[in-house]
Symmetry: C2
Subunit: 205 residues, 2 copies
DNA sequence: TCCCTATGTGACCGCGTGGTCACATTAGTG
DNA sequence: CACTAATGTGACCACGCGGTCACATAGGGA
């Protein structure tokens, strides 16, 4: 985490540093991101950076933390609906809002994508922690779906989690494709979720 | 592609070079892989390497090409079953055999994983080409499923492709986890495929 | 004004990288 | 044996990296 010196800085300068770090970590995964590039673009002496952060990883952790806090806040309205809508509607809301987050804060979004693919050992531990949080959140959702009868009790809960997590990650990767307009992407998300909801086997109803 | 000199080499030396390149590209993504490390471990002079390949990327492309050729050959028996089994059985066979490939040739497998996550522009083009091939193969499978009536005609074909591809990629990432034994992983693959086959909405049958 | 502490700075360090090149070695041919 | 062409070699190059440190600057209290 940043040294106290960093928080003594005027807000404007803090934002400047954060912004350029965000730019770099959005463009490159941790290992390939260049601290020299960050300080040069932010017009900060490299020595100064080491007054604020212990090292490159310290800066990276700080950026990732801020990014995920922003995303959590952004997704809060979805969780507030938890009691009001069913499992499938909630999943749809969740993916739609994640998509809006990626649209609205593409740099933040790209940092999460790079973070998720990281190979660094210490970073991977952090990833596992975040994954645990997601599993818990999702399990809660699924449990509600099962209790209310909207989700079939036959479903293997681990497998369901696996599928939804896989699809969520793939959808997120697709968020990057800016050639797709908002409406059609929302429709696409719903098509994908329909496949999961209904399955592929024909129904006789 | 390799220079002619490379193919003039005795097979043993070619294999030596390939093996150590494989090791490196299995451990690191292209950008982080070290050519110096490859030549030093293979006990080859660095200058020699540049007699065989134009540059680092040339070597990488060759390794990736060889890896995918091996994988294609390995999966051929699955495609040979195309006319004999239905869509869901074929999907199961496909994932099972991919899993066996990862088990049997972990280095080859890891190279494909790293390849798929690469950020290099030229490499990404190659990825898109391979993705196209997969889409075609899968569309064929799905078309057969639709024609034979085993897959519901309501399904949005693009969305189905998306879901299966996402799940395939996630399963592949999971192949790395060697703590899971073979039988339980095969069972897990089938649980996941069952979720896709049946969906999550309860059935009244 | 002086002093002390906190902060800013950029030249510099050691290192590993991908790539080169002048030269040594080998193999094939007459 | 001698000549030629192909192949092997590793010291070397320029570069960019993360990180350091001796020193410059600024600001508040006595």
């Amino acid at each position: 985490m940043p040294k106290p010196t960093f928080f003594n800085l005027p807000e404007e300068k803090r934002n400047l540093i954060f912004h350029h770090a965000l730019l770099e970590f959005a463009q490159f995964p941790y290992e390939q991101a260049s601290l020299s590039a960050i300080v040069s673009r932010a017009a900060i002496a490299k020595g100064s950076m080491y007054q604020y952060f212990a090292d490159k990883k310290d800066l990276y952790k700080y950026v990732v933390q801020e990014v995920y806090q922003k995303k959590r806040e952004f997704l809060q309205p979805v969780w507030d609906q938890k009691e009001k809508v069913n499992f499938f509607e909630l999943a749809s809301l969740y993916y739609q809002r994640s998509w809006h987050f990626a649209r609205q804060y593409p740099l933040y979004h790209q940092v999460t994508v790079n973070f998720w693919d990281s190979r660094d050992a210490a970073v991977r531990e952090e990833i596992l922690r975040k994954k645990e949080i997601r599993i818990t959140e999702f399990s809660d959702m699924l449990e509600l779906g099962l209790l209310s009868g909207v989700v079939t009790p036959e479903a293997d809960k681990d497998a369901v989690w696996f599928v939804y997590h896989a699809v969520a990650k793939a959808l997120i990767d697709n968020f990057l494709d800016t050639s797709v307009n908002a409406e059609s992407h929302e429709a696409y998300i719903n098509s994908v979720l329909t496949v999961l909801e209904r399955g592929l086997r024909p129904r006789k109803e």
